[in-house]
Structures are given as structure tokens and as C-alpha cells.
Subunit: 148 residues, 2 copies
């Protein structure tokens, strides 16, 4: 929880322990107070990164919208969400989409492609980690940095 400490004149400045703490010396102009509160709110929002959610009916919600997913793609989505922001191996995904592994060598690729198209409108992106797996993240500026 973000905190703004009000420090009396004459007292030594405190030593904040994390990003959600700040302090000002009282008395303080209204404008400065507002600015620091706004900064704390912004930091707080950045820290609590929102995660997409998938309900039992295969509906994904993220940001302001939602999409529904067919069974196979819902299974893939669930596996990707369990490791949101980290790599999920192709084999793990195959098991998540089909109880006994993907039926064909290429089935997974095709369903990942379709899943990509569906969740793209929500601002979600599935990154490929070549020969290792896939990674789900928000389509945010500069999480992953790529050469131009």
C-alpha cells in the first residue's frame, strides 16, 4: 500500500524502504502534495501489473474487453496464464491442449496461431522462444527489446 509520510520541520528525513513510500516536509504546498500522491499512484499501478483472467467457460478478460475461446485454445491459454510472463515448453502446451498430447506435429502451431489472432485484440501477445516454447505477455512498450 502506497504511503506519503508527513515529516515535521526539524525531524530528520525518513529512509523509505520501497517504491511505494515517499515523504514531504510539512507544511507543504497543495500542488506539491498532489504531485507526490499522483507519482505514488502511478508507481503503484506499475507495480501491480494486471494479469488476464480466464473463467471456466473459456472467456478471457483483459483490459477493457473479452473474448471467448474454443476448448483447445482455452487449454493452451490456461497453461500460458499459469506461467504468465515466463516460457511454457511446447510439450507442456501440447499436454494442456490435449489430454494425450497433440495429435499432429503441426496441430500446436496452428492453434497457437489462432489463439494469437483471438487475444491480439485484447492487447495480449504470445512470443515465440525458438525451439523452447512460448511466452504470454501484455503488448506493452519495451518489455521485450528486439533489434530493429
Amino acid at each position: 500500500m502506497p504511503r506519503l509520510l508527513l515529516v515535521e520541520d526539524g525531524q530528520p528525513p525518513p529512509q523509505p524502504g520501497d517504491c511505494l513510500e515517499d515523504w514531504v516536509r510539512v507544511p507543504v504546498p497543495e500542488l506539491e502534495m498532489r504531485a507526490r500522491v499522483a507519482a505514488l499512484e502511478l508507481r503503484s499501478a506499475q507495480h501491480a501489473s494486471a494479469r488476464p483472467e480466464l473463467d471456466e467457460f473459456g472467456v478471457v478478460r483483459f483490459g477493457s474487453g473479452w473474448v471467448s475461446l474454443p476448448p483447445v485454445e482455452a487449454g493452451l491459454m490456461r497453461a500460458l496464464l499459469d506461467r504468465y510472463g515466463a516460457v511454457v515448453g511446447r510439450d507442456a502446451l501440447s499436454r494442456a491442449g490435449w489430454a494425450d498430447g497433440a495429435p499432429g506435429r503441426n496441430a500446436l502451431d496452428v492453434h497457437v496461431l489462432r489463439l494469437r489472432r483471438r487475444i491480439g485484440v485484447l492487447g495480449l501477445v504470445i512470443r515465440t522462444v525458438r525451439s523452447r516454447g512460448y511466452l504470454l505477455e501484455a503488448d506493452e512498450p519495451r518489455h521485450q527489446v528486439r533489434e530493429a
Copy 2:
């Protein structure tokens, strides 16, 4: 890179965009200045986790971003991380990248070059220690004080 903005009296307070930015109104007591710089340093240390991390899928995380590494470069990276901040010999690197040593005369050079380019965007740098080996470290962040 952490920043402490010095704001003239009469100017409106700035709106920091992230956790590594703070501001004070000049003139400012020495003590308050020190306190805010110390807080920034602490946050910076918390944020850019002191050392980079490499997971089993070849993904390197450092600061706010990540990149994925192909197998050979992941091997090199692992060796460099095991001795983070210290020199790793070329022979040790060759063994880390290939089970039976580097295949060609300058294969290691090329892969070090490619690794450099990949991790450069994360703020990581591989320094050459001539005829000894290589050394991995963070792009040294210096405190920047700017007039606003």
C-alpha cells in the same frame, strides 16, 4: 538510470514516469538531498535486480526487460553468470558453449559478438580482457543530476 530533478522555485512539479525518478525544489538542504539520493539508490538496487538471471529456457532477465538466447549463447551466458563480474577464460567459455570445445578457430569470437548485441539492450556488457578472457557486468549506471 536513476534521476533526481532539481526544480526551480515557481516551476510546477514534474510528473515522474517511473520509480527511478524523483525531484526536489531548489534550494534544498544537504540532508534532504542525500536522503532522496539514497532512496533512489535503494529503489534502483531493488528494481534492477543486482544480477541478471538465466532460466532453463534460455531467457535472460535483467532490469525491466528480457531476451531469449539460442543454445550456444545460453551456454556462454551461463558460464559468464557463474562468475559474474569476474574473468572467464576463453577455454572455459568454449567448453561452456560446446561439449567438445569450439568447432572453429573464431567461432567463439562470433558468438561473443552475437551475445553482446543481444544482451546490450538489457544494459549488460561483456568486457574483453586481452589474452585472458571475458567479463560480464552491468552497464554502469551513473547518477544524473539535471536542471529542470
